[in-house]
Structures are given as structure tokens and as C-alpha cells.
Subunit: 105 residues, 4 copies
């Protein structure tokens, strides 16, 4: 399963929800306009838990570049739900994810 979305601005966050009974191993890859993708960043979402991830906190394999547009692809070994959010003290914008199931086969 692949959840894919894009982050156009800094201070991006993603809320990951794992409603299942098994932990989700999640891999995040960042795509850019003029360089090769970076990743995967690896995080885990416990069973029946949410995780509020800040992109700027991603450190390995390298810090997320600031002031650079990027897109992110979020892959999980179990189905999860991802909501991409940009926090703003005045007005928050919420981007929805186009979730595409890629048959594992």
C-alpha cells in the first residue's frame, strides 16, 4: 500500500493512524524538482495508535531540506491512514492524500 502526497511548504506534518492490531513499519521517501529522491526515512506506528510526525524532525538519512519544495511518498507494510497537515496559527490548510493501493504480489 502506498499513500502519496506532497509537501510544498515548511512546517509540514503528517498524522498517521494505524487502526490495526500490528505495528506499521513506515517508509517515507522525499522527491524533489531537481535532485534524486532522498530516503527512505523509517518510522513505526504502534498498533491502534496515531503518530503525529513533523517532516522537519526527520533526520536520517539526512535532514529534510528547508525552503525547498518536496513531495513525499509514504509506504507502509500494513494499511494505515495518513492525513497531511500544515499547521498555521491563523489558518491551517489540509491536503488530502491520494491513496493508491499497489498490489503487493
Amino acid at each position: 500500500m502506498v499513500n502519496a502526497d506532497r509537501a510544498l511548504e515548511s512546517h509540514e506534518t503528517a498524522c498517521l493512524l494505524n487502526v490495526g492490531e500490528k505495528p506499521a513499519r513506515v517508509q517515507i521517501t522525499l522527491f524533489f524538482a531537481d535532485r534524486d529522491p532522498v530516503g527512505p526515512y523509517e518510522i513505526e506506528v504502534d498498533a491502534r495508535r496515531t503518530l503525529h510526525m513533523r517532516f522537519n524532525d526527520l533526520a536520517e538519512p539526512e535532514a529534510v531540506p528547508r525552503d525547498t519544495s518536496y513531495a513525499s511518498v509514504i509506504e507502509s507494510d500494513v494499511p494505515i491512514i495518513v492525513q497531511h497537515t500544515r499547521l498555521d496559527s491563523r489558518a491551517a490548510e489540509i491536503s488530502l492524500l491520494s491513496t493508491m493501493a499497489f498490489p503487493a504480489e
Copy 2:
């Protein structure tokens, strides 16, 4: 059928729409970052009616915690449509639901 979405901030509401001819029995479960899920909260949406639900009004089995991020999974025994909204006097943000139909079989 499962409609799943996440509420990251207080003052969240959900607008539920039941366009069918039968009342919808709806169960809401809240998921958290560091504790077990809470629920189900049970509400009913009459046939051919909308219901504007405020998460902070949910009381049983326990009040929705304030200042705590949570995600919600909304399940209904008949198909409904759910729109998740955060009301703000200056600018409202609307989050879309990833609606996943789980075959009842």
C-alpha cells in the same frame, strides 16, 4: 463501511449525511498517540437527514480529552457520508475523509 479521519485540534465537528431510507447506527472510536482507543461512542442519524456532531459533545463512555490529538474512526451499519470540519471564525479548514468500504460479507 468505515469512514476514517483524524482530528488534530479542538472544536472539531463532523457532518454526517444519511441519504438512505433507514436510520444509520454510527459508532465512533477515538485513537490516541500513547493510550488505548476510546469508544465506541454511539449516535444515530435519521433516514434522509444530516447530523452535525461536535466531538467535544461526546460524553459516553468518556468525555473527549481536550488538548490531546486524536484520530477518529467512524463506522456505520448503512452507508453514510461524513465531512470533517474544524470551525474557525476567521477561516475554516476542512479535512476530507478517506472512505474505505470494508465488505461486510
Copy 3:
């Protein structure tokens, strides 16, 4: 085909897009919290055209009530795309549609 969305506030608009070669006959039904649905309101979207519809302009079979929450179901005899928008001079909110294809059979 049914496109369904909800309008929670006044000054709602919907942008309808018909990319096909045939005009789309569109029927809009409004749902409320405590009264029977109203409609259908009928509009037509020409082939290969967009139509910017203001809900408050709907007049037949009755004016859209102000200061009343409502949900709308938009049905078309040919596939169309609907974007629901609330115009605000400071910050616009955009709600996405959950589009459900009901087999015509």
C-alpha cells in the same frame, strides 16, 4: 452517478465540470437536520463547459434557506466533476466531494 457533498455554511458554491460531449442534466437535493429533503433543483451543464453554481441562487422548488445547515447530493445523468467551494475574501475553504458511482443498471 452520484456526487455527494455537504454545505455547512452560507455563500456556498459548486463548480461543475462536464468534460464530455453531451450536456449533463444535474439534480441537486438538499438534506437538513430536522426536516425532509428539498429538491430536486435542476440545472444543466453544457458539453465541455464548466458551471459555477451558487447555492443561494437556487430558487425552484424553493429558495435555499439561510442560516440553516444543509447537505447536498448532486446527481447527473452523465459523469461530471464537482468541486465544492466556500468563497471568503480572506481565506477560502475547499471541501472535496466523496464521489460514489451508483451503477445505473
Copy 4:
């Protein structure tokens, strides 16, 4: 595959993401309320890259009209992901795409 969305206001942008190994040849067609569609505008998104496209930069076959509502249909020869965004210095609105896969066959 067809990604379709609508642009109701000026200063619209679209972020295109190609996670595949082959360049994506993308064609954009604009639809209007009272005139024939214009296009296709042609752009290419390199393999494993993002492209941040400003609608107002589209020049061929003709400049995108200002102060005119339009809808866009974005077609690609390989699957891509499109996020439609309106940039605003105070609050950005994000519209989601209704992505419809039209079997090529």
C-alpha cells in the same frame, strides 16, 4: 489516466509528482463557462521528480486568461500524482483532485 480538477481563481499552481522510472508526458486542457476548451498545454515531468507548475506560466497554445474561471483536466501517459494549490500569503487553500482512471484500452 486522467487527473481532473478545477481552478476557480488566479495564481493557481499544481504540483505534479512522478515517482516512476519513466518521464511523464502531461497534457493540460482548460475548460471554461462560455467558450470552447483550450489546449492541450504540454509539459514533461522527469522520472522520480516533482514539478511545480504555475497555470499563469502556461503560454502555448495561448496564455491562460486572467480573471476568468476555468477548470483543468490533466492527462498523463504514465501515472502521476497531482496536487492543486492556490498560494496565498495569508492562508493557502488546497483543492484535492478527483482522480479517475480511464482505461486506455
